[in-house]
Symmetry: C2
DNA sequence: GCAATTAGTTGGGGCTATCAACAAACTAGC
DNA sequence: GCTAGTTTGTTGATAGCCCCAACTAATTGC
């Protein structure tokens, strides 16, 4: 296929996928292409089974022939988002419009299970998704797996500290467990996918440069630059939790000293607030620490408030360094940090004010993330979806 | 002009500009375009005065018709790179191939001169460049001004601490001083331009993600991501010198505490090595501290070596944070740090080893920059040149 | 019911890349 | 020295794709 045609097909398809049903006329206006060109492109996309005539009425003007909207064909391709976390597995399926068609969630202590067994279980869940009625006899186009660890550019999980996994070729194992599926499998870091999710449907919508800070058991970050996920040269960008805050501070599991994660991570925060960190394990629900500390803060417990202030200042120092280096529009507080952001915000902004250089009124904003514990899976499907939309435009050739 | 033609013209033009003279046949091979398409494109570019037939012989095969190389027309467009630094002004002119056609350098205490006067002087230098024989009756296509301070996206110099300038609209003033020149003027931070220069013709050649650390009176950085300069949302990315190293350290001029620049900047390094920081002013030459400390280190002075080690460790902590966040392929030590890199490298790499997470063998490299004090002007012309090449491809319309 | 208005389709035209054939220019070997 | 072989560059024909203008379709307002 000629690259120009492919480009224009992608332009139209993405527009409909991201902005919803619309008429050929509005598409022509929005893309700058000619009416007749758009008609031809839309016809191709309908033939390819990607779009269909939509019943949705669009009425921009009071007189004239009513427009005929087109929308994504709900029987068109779909994609998968998978997640391996410390104590659960999740699988979501969406169509190209991002409409969720299936979701499953299974709690499992993945630390106590061998990587191949965890992946076999995840493969079963993915296969079950394909047996649902919505799937019909179709295959998904792509699957993305969210994992809580460092993923190299080849898709191998180099290390996942909280899972106790080292050097697990997740993509390969999953491909084997699925017996060579007719769709590609990619693996991506959980925080990176959280950032993608917030970019697509969360607090990062409309932003082009931001950092999503993921407070799980560790502290990670996903970096979005110029509207795209930034992975770094070897895929390890966003290790925000291991920024040095105090060079001679307490040793961290990573081998360094005074890492942000060690000084302001979940365990430290709970300890400062007066809870025994071991209680975390009993909670089972990953949202536990955030919700509980928020309750405690709302109740006005001085020790909790004090702990949040201290952790906020520490986080603020790290965020200020990040802001000096990258000058983002915003920093999103995700994971257990999101429900605590109303208390963290003041100390963080204080540190930003004193430590970060920036233009007047251009200061980096501090916002709570919106997608909670679902951020990683949502990001996984979203990334699959983005890639599938690129690919689908090249497809009408076949 | 049809965007496809424009794109292909740009493809061919950039190829010749960056890779040197080559035949139509090799261009066809390299771009993937058809032989006849390339011939047509080249003909257009020759008509536009951008390319010309080259005497350079290319002999890839032993038999067959000898290829006819084309090269950039030396009488074609040229661009300017200007620099305002603390104690000098510089102007370079290059053709689109990057060949330097003119350079001028004037020492001037710009702290003691009012911004409009400094810019008037710079404008005079730029006008003189255009009176040189190489310019003929042509105008340059673009000029880029390197300044030692924060430049916002509108091209206004928000603050230049070492110059004592605040809120100077450099681009506007220069345009006025030049009485509406027929070429565009852009303004860019000195460290950013240093990074561009190292990317194009220095230690960053072939790299796609790196950070250039510019040790001048302050410490700045230019961030190159995916082969392009990254400016951040408001243009202030790369303020590496104000990363917090020690949250309760000594106060810094920026309002923060324990900034990298305060703990490992030029003044601190000189003081630790036993020199009075005020001596700096007498040196006049900007290369002074690097060259002198290198001499002292080579002579084996214990105090100098000790100071370099300490500063190296401090820098290493900052670089490790940077590496955790961005995962670059390399960090380039520029400015006065370049000649000292053989002593700084060991402590920096030590800190990277303990504090930066990264894959085995994928560790961020630490390299000396290659372009010394010329990095900023070289980057200024290089950036002008890049932009001019984009623009020139759209030009044959006229 | 008719003018006005907006949406979508159809056929013609022009631009551009591609292809195939050919001309040009050189080497190698007899 | 001449011819076969090889590589480069050009030329004319071809096909694809976008654009334009004219036309049809469908609705509102008077």
């Amino acid at each position: 296929m000629k690259p120009v045609r492919e480009h224009n097909l992608g332009l139209v398809l993405r527009r409909v996928a991201e902005q919803g049903p619309r008429s050929r006329a509005t598409l022509a206006l929005e893309t700058g292409l000619n009416k007749s060109t758009v008609s031809s492109l839309v016809a191709d996309l309908i033939d390819a089974g990607l779009l269909r005539d939509s019943p949705v009425e669009e009425r921009p003007a009071r007189v004239g022939r009513p427009p005929q909207s087109v929308e994504l064909d709900p029987d068109g391709p779909f994609v998968l988002g998978l997640e391996i976390n410390v104590d659960y597995l999740a699988v979501w399926a969406t169509d190209l419009a991002g409409e969720v068609r299936h979701r499953s969630f299974v709690t499992n202590d993945n630390r106590a299970t061998s990587p191949p067994d965890v992946i076999a279980l995840l493969a079963r869940m993915a296969e079950e998704a394909l047996e649902q009625p919505f799937a019909g006899s179709r295959h998904p186009m792509l699957a993305t797996v969210a994992v809580p660890g460092l993923v190299d550019r080849a898709g191998e999980l180099a290390v996942a500290p909280n899972l106790g996994w080292v050097g697990v070729p997740v993509a390969r194992l999953l491909n084997e467990a699925l017996e060579d599926p007719p769709y590609a499998v990619r693996v991506e870091n959980e925080a990176n996918l959280g950032a993608v999710a917030e970019l697509v449907e969360g607090a990062g919508r409309g932003l082009s440069d931001f950092v999503y800070i993921s407070g799980e058991i560790g502290i990670g970050a996903g970096v979005v630059l110029r509207g795209e996920l930034f992975r770094g040269a070897s895929g390890f960008a966003g290790e925000f939790g291991h920024l040095t805050i105090d060079p001679f501070g307490p040793p961290c599991g990573c081998g360094g000293r005074g890492c942000l994660e060690r000084l302001a991570g979940q365990d430290t925060l709970l300890r400062l607030a007066g809870w025994d960190a071991r209680m975390r394990c009993e909670g089972a629900r990953p949202e536990w620490p955030g919700a509980m500390l928020a309750d405690s803060a709302r109740a006005g417990h001085a020790r909790t408030l004090e702990a949040l202030s201290q952790v906020g200042h520490t986080l603020g120092i790290g965020i200020a360094s990040l802001a000096n280096l990258l000058d983002p529009e915003a920093v999103l507080l995700g994971g257990y940090l999101a429900p605590l952001s109303q208390w963290l915000r003041v100390p963080i902004e204080g540190e930003l004010e004193t430590r970060a250089l920036a233009g007047r009124g251009m200061r980096c904003r501090v916002l709570p993330a919106r997608l909670g514990g679902e951020a990683a899976v949502r990001g996984a499907v979203a990334l699959s979806r983005q890639a599938a939309l690129e690919e689908a435009a090249a497809l009408p050739t076949a």
